[in-house]
């Protein structure tokens, strides 16, 4: 096979050029199908990003009992560290709790006047979970400490459950739509390549008569398919990268209060996944499409 590699590349190149209208049509077909997939992927991945950001902002706050000594508090902190589904624990001391309250009541200094030394704001731990789906489990564990180490637990149970459901639904829709669109893309590409193969079945037939092996016949077509698939995916990948980047720039310019990466998924994060998977998809679409289309012509 390697003896013939230049022949295959030359043949594929010549055929792509000679059938340039068909080549262009195939590339456009792959491009448009891939573009739809990319747009959907960017949308789904942004929705997911926004939801997971929101999820992360919902955590749990546990208030430490007034009676708990510093030593006991440290022991309790160790117990919290043992819970694997907790990703972050921030300790808020009494002093910090007062400062936070002061921030909230800024401008109404009278409210907190005289309470500096003896204020009612308890020590607390602000807990972030590895995923909101563990909220219920962690809540149950912490509930056991209530009345002893803990005075109370603040947990946005219903909001978290709603988020989990929304996220699940979006993921399901994403899978169904991406799967469906991929299938449609494969069918369209197979159809286009079948047309290209059909227009050259005479050539395949002659190749078989003069003693060409199946792989010899197949390789130029596979290379053509790979070329069409990769170019067809590179074009929408580059254009969607530029457009997405431009849109984000515009949003951040017009709405300066939105911090970069805080709401929309950064362009580099999206394309870190999209670029290799898009190229792989193009490669596979091309190779599967051409291999399937040519198969029936090889039995001469």
């Amino acid at each position: 096979m390697f003896n013939n590699i230049w022949y295959f590349i030359k043949e594929a190149g010549v055929n792509l050029f000679r059938n340039r209208l068909m080549t262009l049509a195939s590339i456009l077909t792959v491009s448009s199908s891939t573009l739809i997939l990319i747009i959907f992927f960017i949308l789904a991945s942004n929705i997911n990003y926004i939801l997971s950001n929101f999820e992360n902002s919902i955590g749990m706050t546990v208030y430490v009992s007034e009676e708990l000594s510093s030593e006991e508090n440290l022991k309790f902190y160790d117990k919290l560290l043992e819970i694997e589904t907790i990703s972050e624990i921030v300790y808020v001391s009494k002093k910090e709790a007062f400062e936070k309250a002061s921030d909230i009541f800024k401008g109404n200094d009278n409210v907190l006047k005289g309470l500096e030394s003896d204020h009612p704001f308890p020590r607390s731990y602000e807990i972030t979970l590895t995923s909101s789906e563990y909220g219920e489990d962690v809540y149950k564990i912490l509930k056991e400490y209530e009345g002893e180490e803990l005075s109370s637990i603040k947990y946005a149970q219903s909001e978290t459950s709603a988020l989990i459901i929304i996220n699940g639904v979006i993921q399901l829709i994403s899978i169904v739509l991406i799967g469906g669109l991929s299938f449609i893309a494969i069918v369209i590409i197979m159809n286009t390549i079948t047309m290209a193969v059909n227009s050259r079945k005479n050539e395949i037939n002659i190749m078989k008569y003069v003693g060409a092996t199946n792989s010899f016949v197949r390789w130029p077509f596979l290379l053509e398919g790979i070329f069409i698939g990769i170019v067809g995916s590179v074009v929408p990948l580059i254009s969607s990268f530029l457009v997405y980047n431009e849109i984000l720039d515009l949003i951040y310019k017009k709405l300066p209060m939105i911090e970069y990466g805080s709401f929309f998924q950064p362009v580099e994060d999206v394309f870190e996944i999209l670029l290799p998977s898009g190229l792989m998809l193009g490669f596979l679409l091309g190779i599967v499409g051409s291999a399937t289309s040519i198969k029936k012509h090889l039995n001469v």
């Binding site: 050539e203 008569y209 003069v210 003693g211 060409a212 010899f216």
Partner: protein, 227 residues
């Protein structure tokens, strides 16, 4: 040597294409297979090329029982056989030289070898000045010469021609026959399926006549097997 023993071919729709075919072709022979349309000539050639599978019987070519040939070995077997069709089957996008070189590229021949051999073969069929022309710029006779050049470029031991003069005027047809005779003169076994009575009569070679899938004559002489 080619040996065909009790060959039968029945198509899926029940049509009997060949029935009890027996013959031997010695190396270096020139044989015509004649008969009217539907007599089984093309099916016989297709069976010899392993393009169709026979229902019963044996075909031995160069010591190989081709019915037992595995799928992957068919291309290598076909490289021992040159084939020419009535409709030439040239690649329209390739020049004369490229069409001929194509058969060598397919079998993985070296470029230097291809560069040396193509002009030789084109000279042999009298097309050395047309090597850059495309098939649609050639006459029917010239196109068949290109097909012949392609068929013999790999120096096959056998040459099968299915109605090679079917699309040609008598002059061109005789030209092609004389080329086939030259090729036969180099030691290649030539088998020609034809229903061109005048040509078969003039050539005066061995004739195997088929009628309704059966051999009705196998002898030297002209086409007219009913006499």
């Amino acid at each position: 040597m080619i040996e065909v023993i009790n060959l039968n071919k029945v198509y899926k729709n029940g049509a009997v294409a060949l029935e009890g075919i027996n013959f031997k072709v010695e190396d270096g022979e020139f044989v015509f297979i004649v008969g009217s349309s539907g007599s089984g000539k093309s099916t016989l050639l297709k069976a010899m090329l392993k393009e169709v599978n026979v229902t019963k019987g044996i075909i031995i070519i160069n010591g190989k029982d081709i019915n037992k040939l595995k799928k992957g070995k068919i291309p290598y077997f076909r490289r021992e056989i040159g084939i020419v069709f009535q409709d030439f089957r040239l690649l329209p996008n390739k020049t004369v030289a490229e069409n001929v070189a194509f058969a060598m590229e397919v079998v993985g021949a070296k470029k230097s070898e291809i560069r040396k051999r193509v002009p030789q073969v084109l000279a042999m069929v009298g097309l050395q000045n047309k090597r850059k022309a495309y098939p649609n710029q050639l006459s029917g006779g010239e196109q068949q010469r290109v097909a012949l050049a392609r068929a013999i470029i790999n120096k096959p031991q056998y040459l099968l021609a299915d109605e090679p003069t079917g699309n040609l005027d008598p002059n061109n047809a005789m030209g092609i026959m004389s080329l086939l005779e030259d090729i036969n003169g180099t030691g290649t076994t030539v088998i020609v399926a034809s229903h061109a009575k005048e040509i078969v009569d003039v050539m005066d070679k061995r004739v195997i006549a088929l009628e309704n899938g059966r051999i009705v004559k196998d002898s030297k002489g002209g086409y007219n097997y009913n006499v």
